[in-house]
């Protein structure tokens, strides 16, 4: 998973709590300043669900809901933590190389 890809953004906003598709995109817009396109967003949701990194928030209610609410799984949290820690290391190294002290 690359640091700037749709899957990482979806995991990041879902780490805050369960959301449905449209709300996920609104949260991503608040975070990055722009929404993901429908293909990128729902492709990412399908891939993350296939890899069991996210799951429906309520399996029973899910079938009746028009908009499915998704939540991050424990495996998803572990994956996100590993990715963010790697990004933090890269970020720190880059800032050091530029002579900037991280805030």
């Amino acid at each position: 998973m690359r640091s700037n890809d749709a899957q990482m953004l979806v995991l990041t906003v879902l780490a805050d709590g369960p959301l449905h598709g449209y709300a996920i995109n609104t949260a991503i817009e608040e975070l990055t300043g722009r929404k993901l396109g429908p293909g990128s967003l729902y492709g990412a949701l399908s891939r993350l669900e296939a890899r069991e990194l996210i799951q429906p928030a309520d399996q029973a209610a899910e079938a009746q809901e028009r908009h499915r609410t998704m939540q991050i799984t424990d495996a998803g949290r572990d994956q996100l933590r590993a990715e963010l820690q790697q990004m933090a290391r890269i970020s720190a190294a880059g800032l050091r190389a530029l002579g900037i002290t991280p805030a």
């Binding site: 396109g37 990128s40 729902y42």
Partner: protein
């Protein structure tokens, strides 16, 4: 049908069932600027069947089986449009230029859903075949009668164009109904396993890649025609689709 609904229906059925309403809503809200990303998203998901959710067991295998036969049907129509050709043949008298068809046929055999060996299942299968294939069979008979009557040879202008159109519409109709029949069969027959399906896709992809290679070689050796360029590109695209989907399926659902 509006554009948002049309674009949503381009997604694999399982994705449509799970996220269709949300995708349609997002496309409607974002307008025309979201269309390229929506199209790219649909293409990416078709190339990665391992990412499809399943609303019932075997849904991915069922959809892929039908898609694989649709791919074979498109290939058949494409090659029919290129005939007569010395580059891509499909007969035992030209083994070197007909080699490409061997992996393709093997792939189709591997992906074929097997009807259950029971009287009830065979009755259902026969009924489905009669229901689905009667109309295309009648169209083919009509086409053959027109050809054998010899009237088509003397036609010119609009009448000639109408007969050619009838010919291609019949071929298209037959291909469509055969795919519909495969879709009916997959409801009751034993579906191929994921491993068999991925192997079938890889074989079909190999056959198509060989065909595209042969076609490309002919273009390099002779003066390229727009028709042969389109044929080569389409064969190459179909090959990439089949190989990519087969590879993804093998990796993720093995």
């Amino acid at each position: 049908m509006n554009a948002a609904t049309f674009l949503t229906r381009l997604y694999p059925p399982a994705v449509c069932e799970r996220w269709g309403e949300d995708i349609r809503h997002e496309v409607s809200a974002s307008g025309i600027r979201s269309w390229p990303d929506t199209l790219a998203g649909a293409a990416r998901l078709w190339l990665h069947p391992g990412d499809w959710p399943e609303t019932f067991i075997g849904q991915t295998r069922r959809v892929l089986t039908v898609a694989l036969f649709a791919l074979a049907a498109v290939t058949g129509l494409l090659l029919r449009s290129a005939e007569p050709s010395t580059t891509l043949t499909a007969d035992i008298h030209h083994p070197a230029t007909s080699l490409w068809i061997a992996p393709l046929l093997l792939g189709i055999v591997l992906a074929a859903p097997l009807p259950r060996p029971s009287r009830a299942a065979l009755r259902t299968l026969t009924a489905s075949a009669v229901r689905t294939l009667t109309a295309p069979a009648a169209a083919v008979v009509a086409l053959c009668l027109t050809a054998w009557s010899g009237t088509a040879e003397h036609l010119t202008g609009f009448a000639d164009a109408a007969v050619v159109l009838f010919y291609w519409l019949t071929l298209g109709f037959v291909a469509l109904r055969l795919c519909a029949f495969v879709a009916h069969v997959t409801r009751t027959a034993a579906l191929p396993t994921t491993r068999r399906l991925s192997t079938a896709l890889l074989h079909i992809g190999t056959g198509l890649a060989l065909a595209a290679g042969q076609s490309l070689l002919a273009i390099v050796r002779t003066a390229p025609r727009p028709g042969s360029l389109v044929e080569t590109l389409t064969l190459g695209l179909l090959a990439v689709t089949a190989i990519s989907a087969g590879h993804d399926l093998r990796q993720k659902r093995a």
